[in-house]
C-alpha cells in the first residue's frame, strides 16, 4: 500500500531542570492513502506531542531527539518532516498537512469574521487568487461541511456560532487547500454526542471525496471504532499495541487494551461492579525501565518487572508489546 506518512523511531524529550526526560519513545507508524490511523491513549501518553512534532510545533522545552517522519507531498516529493527547514515547513502546514484541534472556540481568532479567517488561509498559499474565487471557494467549502446558510456564516464572528458549527468551519479551513493529511487532535471531545456523530461522519466522507488521509488522536475508543482503519494504542510514551481496527476490537492482545475495552463494555452490562484497571496513569516522563504497564497489570510477573518487552507481531499485522504474547516467552 502507498503510504502518505512513515514515522520511524520518533523520540521526543523535555527538559526538567538540566535533566533530559523522555516523553515519547521510539514510535513508528504508517498512514496509508485515504486511510485513517487512530491513535488512542490517556493524558500524558504522548499522543498529542506526536502530532505537534510532525508539524514542528513542539512547545519549548520539548524537542525531537531522534527518528524520522517521511511524508509524501502531492508533488510526490518525499521529505523528512522532522528536519525540514522552517521555510519549507510553512509551505507544508495548512497546505499539505492540516490540523484541527479539540477546542474550536479557541482555535479561531475572536476578532475576525469567518470570511476573513478563511480568506487568510487561502491567501497564504494562493496569494494571487481573486476575491470572487476566494468567495466561491469559501462558500463551497462551507457547503461541503454542511453549514446551513453559508453566506450568513461567512459574515459571522466566532462567538456568534455554536461549538459544532465552529468545528465544521475548522474542518472546512483545514480542507480548503486539499491537504494530503489531516491531523485531528480530539476533534469531538468538546462536542455533544449528537454533534460528534455528525462531525465524525463528515470526516469519514471527506477522506474519500478529498483524497485525504487522517490521523485521529483521541482518548475515546468509540471514536476510533467509528473512524479508523488502523489503530495504535499509546501508553506511557510508546505504542503498546497496534492492529487493524477490527482485529484490535475483537482480539485485543495487550492487557491494557483488554482492560479498557472490558471496563467500557461492563458499563453496558447489568453488573453493579465495573471492571476497573487498578492504579494510576503514570505521569509523563516518570516511567519504569521495565514494562510500563506492569504496575497495573494483573498478569505481571518475573520478567515484566525487570525487562522491557519489544513490540512484536502477535498475529499477522497485529503488534503487541507484552511478554504474554511474544515468542520470547517460550525462548
Amino acid at each position: 500500500m502507498e503510504h502518505v506518512l512513515e514515522i520511524t523511531d520518533l523520540k521526543i524529550s523535555t527538559l526538567r531542570g538540566k535533566e533530559t526526560v523522555p516523553l515519547l519513545d521510539k514510535v513508528s507508524l504508517k498512514v496509508g492513502r485515504q486511510q485513517c490511523l487512530g491513535i488512542v491513549g490517556e493524558s500524558g501518553c504522548g499522543k498529542s506531542i506526536t502530532a505537534s512534532a510532525l508539524l514542528q510545533l513542539l512547545p519549548y522545552p520539548l524537542s525531537v531527539t531522534g527518528g524520522s517522519a517521511f511524508f509524501t507531498a502531492s508533488s510526490q516529493a518525499r521529505m523528512d518532516l522532522l528536519t525540514l527547514p522552517p521555510k519549507l515547513m510553512r509551505g507544508i502546514r495548512g497546505r499539505e498537512i492540516a490540523m484541527i484541534f479539540q477546542e474550536p472556540m479557541t482555535s479561531l481568532d475572536p476578532i475576525f469574521t469567518i470570511q476573513q479567517q478563511m480568506f487568510e488561509a487561502l491567501h497564504f498559499h494562493y496569494p494571487h487568487m481573486t476575491h470572487a474565487d476566494r468567495m466561491d471557494k469559501s462558500l463551497s467549502m462551507l457547503r461541503k461541511v454542511n453549514i446551513p446558510r453559508p453566506e450568513q456564516t461567512l459574515a459571522s464572528y466566532p462567538h456568534q456560532l455554536s461549538g459544532g458549527q465552529l468545528q465544521r468551519i475548522m474542518i472546512a479551513i483545514a480542507l480548503m487547500n486539499n491537504p494530503r493529511l489531516l491531523i485531528a487532535d480530539e476533534p469531538t471531545t468538546a462536542l455533544d454526542v449528537t454533534i460528534q456523530m455528525q462531525i465524525l461522519e463528515l470526516m469519514n466522507e471527506l477522506k474519500e471525496t478529498n483524497d485525504a488521509s487522517v490521523i485521529m488522536i483521541t482518548h475515546d475508543l468509540g471514536v476510533i471504532a467509528e473512524t479508523s482503519q488502523h489503530v495504535a494504542v499509546f501508553y506511557a510514551g510508546h505504542i503498546v499495541e497496534e492492529a487493524p481496527v477490527n482485529e484490535l476490537f475483537h482480539h485485543p492482545q495487550h492487557p491494557y487494551t483488554k482492560g479498557l475495552l472490558q471496563s467500557i463494555s461492563s458499563l453496558t452490562g447489568d453488573s453493579r461492579q465495573l471492571y476497573a484497571i487498578p492504579g494510576i496513569v503514570p505521569p509523563g516522563g516518570s516511567w519504569a525501565a521495565h514494562c510500563r504497564f506492569a504496575a497495573r497489570c494483573s498478569h505481571a510477573s518475573g520478567r515484566c518487572l525487570t525487562d522491557m518487552p519489544a513490540l512484536t507481531e502477535a498475529a499477522p499485522g497485529h503488534f503487541c508489546r507484552c511478554f504474554l504474547h511474544s515468542q520470547e516467552v517460550e525462548a
Binding site: 446551513p148 455554536s162 449528537t194 471504532a225 477490527n246 463494555s265 494510576i280 497495573r296
Partner: protein, 323 residues
C-alpha cells in the same frame, strides 16, 4: 412522611441577560424550564442531556447553589427553595454536591486533613480525637492511608483528587448528594474506579443521589431512573432500563443512537439530528425539540406537550414513538 426524599416541583431557573448602557435586564435565559421529578431514598436518579440542556443548573438549583426563579424543592418535607440562605447552609450537612473537576474544586493550599476536617468543623462540634477518627474512617473508605493526610492536592493524580473530593462531600454523612459529571474530567481507565467507589459508598452510606452526566453509558450503569433533558425541560423520564431499551421520545432515541458503538463492523442504525440546539434565551414556541424533530407537526410548533404518563413512564411528546 412521604415515600420520597426529594420532590422537585415545577422548578424554573432563569438567568437575566444584561445589556445596553445601563446594564438593564433585556431578557432571560431559560436554563431550567418547569422541571419536576421525585427521588426515593437510596435511589440514584440521573439527569442526562447535552451541554446547555440545563442538567447542571437543575442540580445546582436543587441544592440552592443557584437560587431558582420559581418552583418547589421539597427535601424531607420542607421546601428548600423557600428557606433563607442561613437555614440552607445548615442543611448542607445533609445534602452535598460533588464537582466535576477535581483539579479545580480542591483548594490547592489545603492538605487532605484540612480539606476533610473543614466540613466537620463547620457542622459539628467535635473533639479533636473524634474528628481524627471520622477523617481516618473516611480515608479508609476511599482507599487512602493515614500517612497521606498531610499531603496537598497537587501531590495526587486526578483520580485520587476526585476520591478526596468525594470524601469531602460525604464526611458529614449526608443523606442526599448531587454528583455533577463526577468522572468526565478523568482518564478512561480511572473512570471505572471512581464509578465503582461511588456505587460502593452510595450503598454503604444509604445515599440518595442525583447523578448528572452527558455520558449515556455511565448513566446506564449508575442509575435506576433517568430523565432525558433538552433545552431546560425533561423530555422523557422513567426507569433507566426501559428508556434505554426503547426510547419513546424522538430526542431520546437520537441521543442514544449517537453513542459510538465499540464494534467497528456493526454500525448502529442512526437517527441523525439536523441542526443544532437553539439558543435558550430565545427558545422555540411549542415543543422545544420541534425544529430538529422528524415527526414535528403543526401541533408541535403551536403547543408545548405536557409531561404525562405514557408507556409506563413520563413523556413530553405529541407523537411518541410506537412499537
Amino acid at each position: 412522611m412521604s415515600e420520597y426524599l426529594l420532590d422537585v416541583r415545577n422548578l424554573k431557573t432563569y438567568f437575566p441577560i444584561k445589556g445596553g448602557l445601563m446594564r438593564r435586564t433585556i431578557g432571560h435565559v431559560h436554563a431550567v424550564e418547569d422541571v419536576s421529578f421525585k427521588l426515593k431514598p437510596r435511589q440514584v436518579f440521573a439527569l442526562v442531556g447535552e451541554s446547555g440542556c440545563g442538567k447542571s443548573t437543575t442540580g445546582k438549583s436543587i441544592l440552592r447553589l443557584i437560587d431558582p426563579t420559581a418552583g418547589q424543592v421539597i427535601f424531607d418535607g420542607q421546601d428548600i427553595a423557600a428557606l433563607p440562605q442561613e437555614e440552607v447552609r445548615l442543611l448542607r450537612r445533609d445534602m452535598q454536591f460533588i464537582f466535576q473537576n477535581p483539579y479545580s474544586s480542591l483548594n490547592p493550599r489545603m492538605n487532605v486533613w484540612q480539606l476533610l476536617s473543614e466540613p466537620l468543623k463547620t457542622h459539628f462540634n467535635l473533639p479533636e480525637w473524634e474528628m481524627h477518627k471520622r477523617v481516618e474512617a473516611m480515608l479508609d473508605k476511599i482507599g487512602f492511608t493515614p500517612d497521606q493526610l498531610h499531603r496537598y492536592p497537587h501531590q495526587f493524580s486526578g483520580g485520587q483528587k476526585q476520591r478526596i473530593s468525594i470524601a469531602r462531600a460525604l464526611i458529614t454523612g449526608p443523606r442526599f448528594v448531587v454528583a455533577d459529571e463526577p468522572v468526565s474530567a478523568l482518564d478512561v481507565s480511572i473512570q471505572a474506579q471512581i464509578l465503582n467507589l461511588l456505587v460502593q459508598l452510595q450503598q454503604d452510606m444509604a445515599l440518595s443521589m442525583v447523578f448528572i452526566s452527558h455520558d449515556l453509558n455511565v448513566v446506564r450503569f449508575i442509575s435506576s431512573e433517568v430523565a432525558v433533558m433538552y433545552l431546560g425541560s425533561i423530555m422523557e423520564t422513567g426507569p433507566t432500563q426501559d428508556i434505554y431499551a426503547q426510547p419513546r421520545h424522538p430526542y431520546s432515541r437520537a441521543l442514544l443512537s449517537a453513542v459510538p458503538s465499540l464494534d467497528p463492523q456493526r454500525k448502529k442504525v442512526r437517527h441523525a439530528l439536523q441542526g443544532e440546539v437553539p439558543n435558550p434565551a430565545n427558545p422555540p414556541t411549542g415543543c422545544p425539540f420541534h425544529p430538529r424533530c422528524a415527526y414535528a407537526t403543526d401541533l408541535c410548533r403551536r403547543q408545548r406537550p405536557a409531561l404525562t404518563e405514557q408507556f409506563g413512564r413520563m413523556l413530553a411528546c405529541h407523537h411518541p414513538l410506537e412499537d
